[in-house]
Symmetry: C2
């Protein structure tokens, strides 16, 4: 069979059964081969950033690699920001980038560029497949690399002639050990001893520690030691809601983060880095833990965080402890003129069980955690890598991965516009996504940041750089253009009703929540 | 003064007075400094690909460097595809990418990545400014590098603390020689001798050879030698229309290109590469000139193409020759159900004098050259680097550069969606752009390419990858969402009227031309 077919067959046999695509001429044999391998689902995106962010969302919710199909260097470039996010989220992605035929590169055709070098920016594993006979073995290596653990972006570059050449055979991924080591006994013992001491202590949880089993173990540790449970600023996937141990995520803004950490004498890292601010600010330290706070690592991203937490539970004799669990709670539905807090209340009042929340609400995100903490159990996905424009693509991927679960994309207006084309894929695939646009008609975060970096007062030209109100962007029109039914909400009542209506009807909906 | 202010002042003093921006926190001091330097105009884009493509369009129409302001590695990634196009177009761009403060990188914050390596993909000149005192000198080097000639993308990476630090002073770019050498006498003589011989000969013109002065010289050469005038597939900027020598652009599809070249015995390159196909196709040669066709180079991109052509005119004694000029001609306005040919006729029937056409019409472009060849003189900008999604940004930049001239963005539907956010900047800046969407509800080019690469017959899954009709995309709604008045045209009469109405009213307009 031809290379493309063997590649797709190898992917499918390894459980990689969805590919988010934006192909071009050099990928036409891959596209044609889709019909030869019925198990592969190809989800078309209008823009590569949608495809790569969707692959990330798919991987976060399926724990299997998401795959992409991109067109040459510029297609990879368009997908790079969300691959950056996937890299930071440590999710498995098999990133397939078509290239010119090997013999065509001598002509330096207009679309030729150095794909490998760009790919390395986001992808520790990069390989150009050189021979049709090797494509299946290269695919196996890419799949294994993507899986990790920890998961990573693995980029397989596929020259057109390798793809169309004949003589390939699919391969099966051999069984291999995907387990990570547990923290050593010494480490567990040292952390246990430290936790038994007096003094304000917290566990800082990231990665798989924020999944249910990790949270329950951490909750037991907290119950017997009094340690607080903190979460990283932007988790890859946080399980939360009524009946689960709650974590306080470290705030994005460093002053708030410092205030939250200031009493701490000990901090135990569980698949998390020592806390540092997102950005530097003149005259302020980037490092956020207070002086004298002792920082210990229980588990790195190369350690099994859940097993390490459970070993710590044993070491502390906490197996029978009862973790403190979030109690069921719904805020009152809001009334009157809308603001970000009321949108959060409306969401908290209706959020259904097993919802998947893809949150990129930026400054509007502040009231969300409190208002949804007591909602039925749900997953919360965030902008782990900080490159805005991933919220809507994440929702696409999450909805493809879990068609049985309602997806909510809680999206700031400015950042939603980077990959607004996501709406079309939601409509095309009839994904059950409720998109809420927190529409404050500005890059509000940058107004705040301008003050924070001490560059105020902003003059009119600087102010104009944060202004999305001239002209105003009508998200209902944009949604209609992409085939998604939308409506505007200007009051709490309208917001709650719009959420209820969206939940009652299958397929995507957009609510343009006009705030402050 | 602070680094950012010295940087902007240095840019402005060197004639770089427009910056296409999509800033983030690390660029806030640059943004604040905009108010300190009134001569710098900052044009906000909702997406970096709009900013980089606009900088390209600005540079093509102003012959001065366009500048960008991008946010960290992911912002550069989002702008990479159109910087690739700018690289291929050989236009000057000062590409400013903010970075974390130098002392912040130790924390490997979420948005940190290797900016320099990605930048090198499109930018031969890359430098990270390390000290506030050096920023102005670094800016001077960037401006000089961008200018070339030939023009190039020069990327200046600006750490936040270098930007906000005090103690910088602006610098003036020293006078320097920006001329390129003329082809040597030997080369000119050899080409002249070759052109005097019998046999089918053509000049293949690219770069500045496609500007009026180059065309007139080439026209004189053609008049005395009988050589045909060919143009590269996708010129950076082609001046054409009634009263100018016409060139036949080499067709995109290699079979058509081969047919156009098949009789040739000699081909003279004038800032153009030997003709090769865009993509490779199984069993077909990528090289397009016929066997035995002798290829000579009069001028490379490192040579002054116009001066070399004029030297060739002298060598041939052709100074007094009368070049053949395109005669004034307007097609009849079309009637009845619209198709791509009728859209082209409508455009040819109304195209005003000194129009700037930004053309990314892909398969719909075929009837455009013939129908506009006799229109009043105009500029024609194309997708030089082949990375789709540049048409609308080019129009933004061209309109900013030349507010005195009407701009037409002739845009395929699929490729227009990559950077559809351009519409908002057109509305915000009230740019006089008429956007025509050739809406065939498909990636038509890929259907053709699938057949051409021999991967047919396409099954239903492959076919679905080319389908933009499920759901249909409503460009009038998208335009409304971004603040641009739009209308749909389904007949020739509606198309012509819509073009006339758009021309009569200032500001941007979109016409959704529904074709076959």
């Amino acid at each position: 069979m031809i290379g493309a077919q063997a590649l797709i067959r190898t992917l499918v046999d390894a459980g990689v059964t969805v590919c988010f695509t934006n192909p071009g001429t050099s990928e036409m044999h891959f596209v044609a081969a889709l019909d030869e391998v019925p198990e592969m689902r190809a989800v078309l995106a209008l823009f590569e950033g949608v495809a790569t962010g969707a692959a990330d969302g798919y991987a976060r919710m399926s724990d299997a690699p998401g795959a992409t199909l991109l067109h040459l260097g510029p297609g990879l470039g368009n997908g790079l920001a969300n691959l950056h996010n996937a890299r930071r989220a440590k999710v498995p992605i098999v990133n397939i980038v078509g290239d010119h035929a090997t013999y065509h590169t001598q002509y330096d055709a207009p679309l030729q560029s150095d794909i490998e070098t760009v790919a390395r920016n986001v992808s520790p594993w990069v390989r150009t497949s050189r021979r049709t006979e090797d494509i299946a073995a290269d695919a196996v290596d890419a799949i294994v690399a993507a899986h990790g653990p920890p998961g990573q972006v693995a980029t397989l570059i596929l020259p057109a002639d390798v793809s169309w050449g004949d003589g390939a055979e699919p391969l099966r991924v051999p069984e291999y050990d995907v387990s990570l080591p547990t923290a050593t006994e010494d480490t567990v013992e040292a952390v246990a001893e430290a936790l038994k001491r007096d003094g304000a202590t917290a566990l800082l949880l990231g990665g798989s520690a924020l999944r249910e089993r990790g949270l329950l173990a951490a909750g037991r540790i907290a119950a017997v030691t009094g340690a607080r449970l903190l979460g990283v600023v932007f988790p890859t996937r946080l399980q939360r809601g009524a009946g689960l141990p709650a974590v306080e995520r470290i705030p994005y803004f460093p002053d708030a983060a410092r205030a939250r950490l200031e009493e701490l004498e000990q901090l135990v890292l569980v698949d998390a880095k020592p806390p540092a601010s997102f950005f530097a600010y003149p005259g302020k330290r980037s490092y956020l833990a207070p002086d004298g706070c002792e920082v210990r690592e229980l588990a790195s991203s190369e350690t099994d965080a859940i097993a390490s937490l459970e070993a710590l539970v044993e070491a502390l004799g906490a197996a029978a402890a009862t973790p403190q669990l979030a109690r069921a709670f719904r805020p009152q539905p809001p009334t009157g003129t809308l603001d970000a807090e009321k949108v959060a209340r409306a969401i908290g009042s209706v959020l259904p069980e097993r919802a998947i929340v893809c949150e990129e609400a930026i400054t509007s995100a502040l009231p969300l955690p409190a208002n949804t903490a007591g909602a039925p159990p749900h997953d919360w996905l965030t902008l782990t890598g900080g490159a805005i424009g991933e919220g809507l693509p994440l929702a696409v991927g999450a909805a493809v991965a879990r068609p049985d679960r309602p997806v909510f994309a809680l999206q700031a207006d400015g950042s939603g516009l980077y990959t607004i084309q996501s709406l079309w894929t939601m409509a095309r695939e009839q994904l059950d996504v409720t998109v809420v646009i927190f529409n404050n008609r500005s890059y509000r975060i940058l107004k705040v940041e301008l003050e924070r970096v001490g560059a105020q007062p902003a003059g009119p030209k600087a102010d104009a750089q944060f202004d999305l109100g001239h002209p105003e962007i009508n998200f209902v029109d944009l949604a209609a253009g992409f085939g998604v039914p939308g409506r505007r909400a200007e009051t709490g009542e309208e917001m709650t009703e719009a959420l209820q209506d969206a939940a009652a009807e299958p397929g995507p909906h957009l609510i343009d929540a006009v705030i402050g």
